[in-house]
Symmetry: D3
Subunit: 233 residues, 6 copies
């Protein structure tokens, strides 16, 4: 199967890392391509950034279907354009936030999201309400902008602190990393929590669960319902 990962931003700096990690988790036989947008926002940290990225994203989605891809992963935790993309496409489209919250709902009583900055929190809250999951304990943030996430040690320390607060104060039993830029740190964080505090809990990498979910949908022949996402042309 052929999967396209669309980074819904105009920055290409994350593409090769994302692709490398995605290929590590992909099933045998899955081909993955990763592209970013020609027009839109540099990064998505609020609803304004998101709105500006959607038209460019929808063009890429349409193109992906024409090129014969079997499914699309929109690689941003705001799930930008997920719903209009499902209208324009007849192939399955998945988003990391939606998938993470559904996977987390299976793994225990309550999950917390640890995201980048405060400004994006209301958008994430709204997406959780629309999805209709009741196990969201809290949304916390490390206060590091997307484009500064590469300082891995600083990020990991901040994630550790906020994850512990989520567990101890908010009752979280699962942690979701709330930005697809926090790539390849889930296992390190999980280990740190287990070793530092005996806190043996799942840490979800949103882009990777979305990738595996998309593979599952494609191999089962499933995609979004056309009663919810009616064809828009």
């Amino acid at each position: 199967m052929k999967i396209k990962i669309i980074m819904p931003i105009t920055q290409g700096v994350f593409d090769s890392h994302e692709l490398a990690i995605a290929r590590r988790y992909a099933s045998e036989g899955t081909e993955i391509t990763c592209v970013h947008l020609r027009k839109g926002s540099e990064s998505i940290e609020n609803q304004y950034d998101e709105a500006l990225s959607v038209p460019g994203l929808l063009e890429e989605v349409t193109k992906a279907e024409e090129e014969g891809y079997d499914g699309v992963l929109i690689s941003c935790f705001g799930d930008p354009g997920l719903k209009p993309a499902r209208e324009v496409a007849s192939i399955p489209i998945v988003g990391p936030a939606e998938t993470s919250m559904l996977f987390a709902s299976s793994l225990g009583q309550r999950f917390s999201i640890v995201t980048v900055v405060k400004d994006i929190v209301p958008l994430l809250e709204d997406n959780a309400r629309v999805l209709g999951v009741e196990k969201l304990a809290s949304i916390r943030y490390v206060d590091i902008p997307v484009l500064a996430l590469e300082h891995e040690e600083k990020l990991l320390n901040a994630l550790y602190d906020e994850s512990l607060k989520a567990v101890e104060h908010d009752g979280a039993h699962i942690i979701i990393l709330g930005c697809t830029g926090m790539i390849d740190v889930a296992k390190s964080l999980s280990k740190l929590l287990a070793e530092g505090r005996g806190c043996n809990i799942p840490v979800i990498d949103p882009a990777m669960v979305a990738l595996k979910f998309l593979e599952a949908l494609i191999s089962l022949g499933l995609k979004q319902s056309k009663l919810t996402y009616m064809s828009s042309h």
Copy 2:
């Protein structure tokens, strides 16, 4: 006070009628302007149309604030771009669907929305969930596209039929017209329901309640919270 109504579509055919009705309901001393977009969709009947309209809308919102307007009404029942617009602006921004659902929540036990076509229903359902109102009984539609709404008699008959079903099958006690293109028919529909069936219930014209709500916010010095809608530049 100065209010700008933005029609978030590239059609200008509705502007003068909307403006005339708005001036009829405006308070003394309110100046109203009505504009449509230079780029976007012709009409908004699904999430794809909506997504394409938002960037052009946000430009108009920014311009309205620069021109000294005291508030903006986004005149489409999908409330397109309402949330990013509230981020970019420091003046109050209101939407017809949100306002209608809040007004209706005060007037009785449950309300139904009667909108144009089936394709827009999921978007309206999602907006209701995000707003957090529990009194939505149902969303019905007359199956008439936006650009065919000018056949007033046909529209009124279809609204009458669907409103009665909303009352009798869904338990609605209030009707919200689910498209700002259904302008100036609320009173006729209300009269028809009262005379035809003794069904004495409020019928809400969404653009007009949004206008009065915006006037109220401006005169009270209230606007969107900057903890929810953080400045995006």
Copy 3:
């Protein structure tokens, strides 16, 4: 239009101040009268006080309609008698708590109410549940009885303290003043929060938003649904 404000208590000490402030916010052409009850409670600080005030209030509502008023504002944050009043009247009747919670639902993610004393909190919680709004973050109180609210500096300091706790601990993005006796302090509190903490959020004066809401309903020809509030005689 002619509006009657009913203070549902047997004290007349608040009447002239309330009237003065109301006239400041009223639209041009709105005439306002303010009365208190002949029989009932001195102030309303629990459900017992409220219950004793309702019969006297209902008499005043009936009288207001006979006198040709276009609408009634029941000026107490407990919204006493709001529902039976809507049954006896065929003119619109509004309450400050209901209106404040609906306006606040539009302005951001979550609101807190800061009221007078602990005893009234359960009643306010119940009213929020009945209204069906999901954005209530918390109800706090300044621990100052209604009849001691005139010490403005003490009140303002206590409101400031509780509002900050609401924002920082409860996640509030909007503050609602939870007593109509806290009149004309919303703007001072808003300024204090913005200057002291850079906390730029709406503070809602409940009687004044109810006044503007009532004006809006009257000018739109809207009132409570007679399917919810059936005529009681």
Copy 4:
């Protein structure tokens, strides 16, 4: 133990029948008295009737405590004055609607209420929301006013029809009789449903479950929490 049943209406016609049935279900050692109000409404069929009955009811509650009663049952399905009564009293106070909905929540997946007339339905809906039970399937009515309930055959037929609709269309697994005037028909209705349709479901007589609940509270030394119902004098 000594229990007072207060009929919160000015009619005394139901007193002796209610007392006779109550004595049949009471435990050995329970003494029961039944009184009606000196001032209030003739019957309670909407929120206006209810409001007018509460002050007189609260006097009777205070008197009951002074006379040494161990608990009070307010015998009306609107549960009028239940909350202020719990504030004025330091003995347990129970209401038939609240008790019925809690008992029904234990007996199966969903319950329906079949009450007298349409006008009382919104009040019952609000009471269910305040109680916080999620198993209410529907509220139906037989369209017979309280004071005409004595025609037992007509009542039973209408209850049978509405109960079947509740089961077949609304998914009810339990029926609650929604008026304390529907006394001593629960078993006949239950038998009719079982024999006519093999529909073997509980039918709850609201005054009688409230009586047994009150006996249980008294014998366990339990009553309303004084953190919810603070003393009002």
Copy 5:
């Protein structure tokens, strides 16, 4: 009437104490027997223990009905096997957790449960969700295993500490003891809270409210609905 209390564990050490307390609260004319299981778990402190106890419990329930008992109380706060037991039996079956949460819903705004150990908390949370009550404030635990509950002073001190936290931090107005092994301490705890902190709130003994509830059901001729609990043989 004849009631059987089934201790769904293989330990018999609690039987005689439970029986003595139950007889103290039972109505005149109620005969009570108390048995434990021949096969199952020693105590129930997680979902695994619970699962292993259910088959043995169901045998005892079937036997109780054959022996002519009028009802069964499953005396464990996990309500193990409550639902399958209601399928196999045609006599009423009650559980302490379900009954306690329903009784508490009547007594005030919110209740907390104070149970034994952390491992059982998720099961109790799930049971509350299934019951559909909205007034659960929190679940706390004293961190004392069931078989060490006999140290009454240590237990009482721990219950006092956790109950105060439930009231002061979680907003609880009622405390439910979250283990039927915490027998005969409700009144001592209630007294301690009232004297130590002026905290005058109900403390619910779960097995005893279940006993009184069962007596009430039997005397009213009520039992679980056969539309929810269909006969399983």
Copy 6:
């Protein structure tokens, strides 16, 4: 990776078919074994059947972990023993109903479940509540017992009828087959709905989505949280 499918019944008739279909959908490199129980129920059609199967199931789960399996799929739509199994195991355990409801929550606005018989419906309703998903539209049944499911044409016709009712009356946009015995009919049903009615919607085969979900969890190194499912020995 090595996966064990446990059929939680004492019948082995379904094993080979289930295994064949599972192997068709499995990723390359996945080894699958399928076993049934030595003690328990013949089929699971109510809560009693389920309770009797759980102890035998838990033995198989423990054995699977000892044998080196990487994960277990409990192949019954009642998800019997899912929660205690997650306590005893340190490998991921999945259930078809939970997984189906989460996958369906991603694919559209609302889903319906079409199961075998009426008796199992309350259990499925309870499982949905515990999972905390809000998009369940309805649960319908074909009225065919599990052991008669092999008549494929009769089954398909009944599924078609109930699915159409779910779409047209209950607002479903996705269908979940509510029994793992309805294996290998999802695609036929989907085709029938699309061709017969132009109803282009996803039909979910519960065992197969659970299989793909389990593969995804194993390849991501995720499993149930040990804060929810504490070790039970």
